[in-house]
């Protein structure tokens, strides 16, 4: 079993959603998370607050990286899956894509022992 990081980008800002839309989205997420947990795929995950800073050699800016056309990173999920394809299939079931979101699937690289 390998681990994969699902990087969640974009999505609709909370302010633009009606109460019903919010509820429907939360319900869809609960179903998705529940099934990840039930099938032993869930390993972790956190949402991020929208603001942030960017740090590089050219200095520190007062906002997160926004250059990606898919939007800024809004959170991640850590999942267990057999393969990259299986992980992508799990990501495909994530409701995020139905709400203007984008999910990047990346395998966790085990660091070799020194």
């Amino acid at each position: 079993m390998k681990q994969f990081l699902l990087i969640l980008r974009g999505g609709r800002p909370a302010a633009s959603k009606t109460e019903e839309e919010s509820k429907a989205e939360t319900a869809a997420w609960n179903v998705y998370m529940g099934s990840l947990a039930q099938n032993g795929h869930m390993a972790g995950g956190v949402p991020l607050v929208s603001g942030g800073k960017s740090v590089s050699a050219s200095g520190i800016t007062n906002e997160p990286v926004t250059s990606s056309p898919e939007g800024i990173v809004g959170g991640y999920l850590l999942i267990n899956a057999e393969s990259l394809d299986a992980a992508a299939a799990l990501a495909d079931a994530c409701p995020h894509k139905n709400y203007n979101g984008h999910v990047e699937v990346r395998e966790i690289a085990p660091m070799p022992a020194m």
Partner: protein
């Protein structure tokens, strides 16, 4: 500024709340953390109370129990965030608690009123798990479901703190070794598991009921707790079975008489001499209601019969007007289901009112192993003494009363028996 009076009140309130809320809190926290983390759940509950004692000195919150629950909830979330990658929590929630996305919703859901009750029920089943020794079940139930301290449990069970501590530790080890689950058994498992729960609650009730020491309010608390936990079982569709209702009926009907069992001097008052106007009419009404509920369905348990016997006494206007025929019939039925010497002895007492003292003496003498029982269990010689006294056989009455006195450790019982020796004709 120190406010000693307020401080004192806060401690009293905290004590009161502890009894009432700690069981709930530990149940919900254990549902989150898993039965194997029972001690962690207890720690979090204790921390919430410690925080209350500290903060309430500056003023009470408008809803103290709500405040405690909220504090426990926030502390639980802290623990989960700190330990989510290093600890296995409850199987049912562990994975969801690993993700920050789902932690708060899962915790929120389990702290909802309906789920709290469900968790309390699971805790009763876990504490009365058949893998635990019966004595350990009782101690663990009192500690975990009822918020009794070690000393209180020791006092309530006429034991000492060291023994209780050992029992609790043994129970906790067994929970981990045998991987005892935190769930409500379903299907064919339910009947057996519920039987054990009901039996343990009845034992708990009896520990309090048969107590003779008026000072020991704690023993009355035992009765209340047993009844409260049994009532919880009637609030869930899965466990609200006729047998459960019959046990609630039995406990309630007995509890109705609790205050008339001892007189002002703390001496036992026999059923025949009890002031029936002191019986709690409200409890009797509730008891009869549950007995009606218990009549649904096919199952007839020993609790049904015992409750029916107590109900028969409750409905009699006076001791003389008791329907002894009904009571003897019920005991006949009970003796078929549970042919224990005690049931036969009680049947004989009822028979003495119906057929006379000789018939009762003959019935007792016919009990298996009666020679052994006469000399080992005080109720047997006490009843025989009484029956012989009734027929004027002073020699035999005195003989049996003497054995009875040597067999009981209760000062009240010794006193009662002593009186009978002086005035055996009464």
């Amino acid at each position: 500024m120190k406010q000693p009076a307020l401080n004192n009140n806060i401690h009293l309130l905290a004590d009161h709340l502890f009894r009432h809320e700690s069981g709930k809190m530990v149940a919900v926290l254990t549902r989150l953390f898993g039965m194997h983390n029972l001690e962690l759940a207890e720690d979090v509950m204790q921390e919430a109370f410690a925080k209350a004692l500290k903060e309430w000195t500056f003023g009470l919150p408008p809803n103290p129990s709500g405040w405690l629950m909220l504090t426990a909830k926030n502390k639980a979330i802290d623990v989960i965030r700190r330990e989510r990658y290093s600890k296995e929590f409850a199987r049912e929630t562990s994975m969801l608690l690993r993700s920050e996305y789902t932690t708060a919703p899962v915790v929120e859901k389990l702290f909802m009123e309906y789920e709290i009750q469900d968790s309390q029920l699971r805790m009763i089943f876990a504490c009365c798990h058949p893998a635990l020794a019966p004595a350990d079940q009782i101690a663990l139930t009192l500690k975990t479901c009822s918020g009794f301290g070690v000393q209180e449990i020791a006092a309530a069970l006429l034991s000492n703190s060291e023994t209780i501590k050992k029992r609790l530790q043994r129970a906790k080890n067994t929970i981990i070794e045998k991987k005892i689950n935190f769930d409500i058994p379903l299907g064919s498992d339910l009947k057996n598991r519920l039987d054990i729960v009901l039996h343990t609650l009845y034992l708990l009730f009896n520990e309090g009921y048969k107590s003779c020491d008026k000072e020991e309010i704690i023993r009355k608390d035992l009765c209340e707790e047993a009844l409260r936990l049994a009532l919880l079982l009637t609030k869930n569709n899965i466990t609200n079975l006729p047998k459960t209702n019959s046990l609630v009926a039995l406990m309630t009907l007995l509890a109705a008489r609790l205050d008339s069992r001892l007189n002002e001097d703390g001496e036992i008052v026999l059923l025949a001499d009890q002031d029936r106007s002191k019986w709690n009419a409200e409890l009797m009404r509730i008891g009869l209601h549950y007995l009606n509920m218990a009549a649904e369905g096919e199952e007839l348990s020993t609790y049904h019969l015992e409750a029916a016997i107590v109900a028969e006494h409750s409905m009699a206007k006076s001791f003389q007007e008791t329907n002894w025929q009904n009571i003897v019939n019920l005991y006949d039925h009970l003796a078929q289901m549970n042919p224990s010497p005690t049931v036969h002895l009680n049947r004989a007492v009822a028979l003495s009112k119906l057929k006379g003292n000789e018939a009762a003496i003959n019935a007792i003498k016919a009990i298996d192993d009666i020679e052994k029982l006469e000399n080992s269990q005080y109720l047997f010689p006490a009843v025989l003494g009484e029956l012989y006294a009734n027929i004027g056989d002073k020699a035999k009455a005195g003989y049996y009363f003497k054995i009875a006195i040597s067999l009981t450790s209760s000062a009240q019982e010794k006193k009662l028996l002593g009186k009978k020796m002086i005035f055996p004709e009464q």
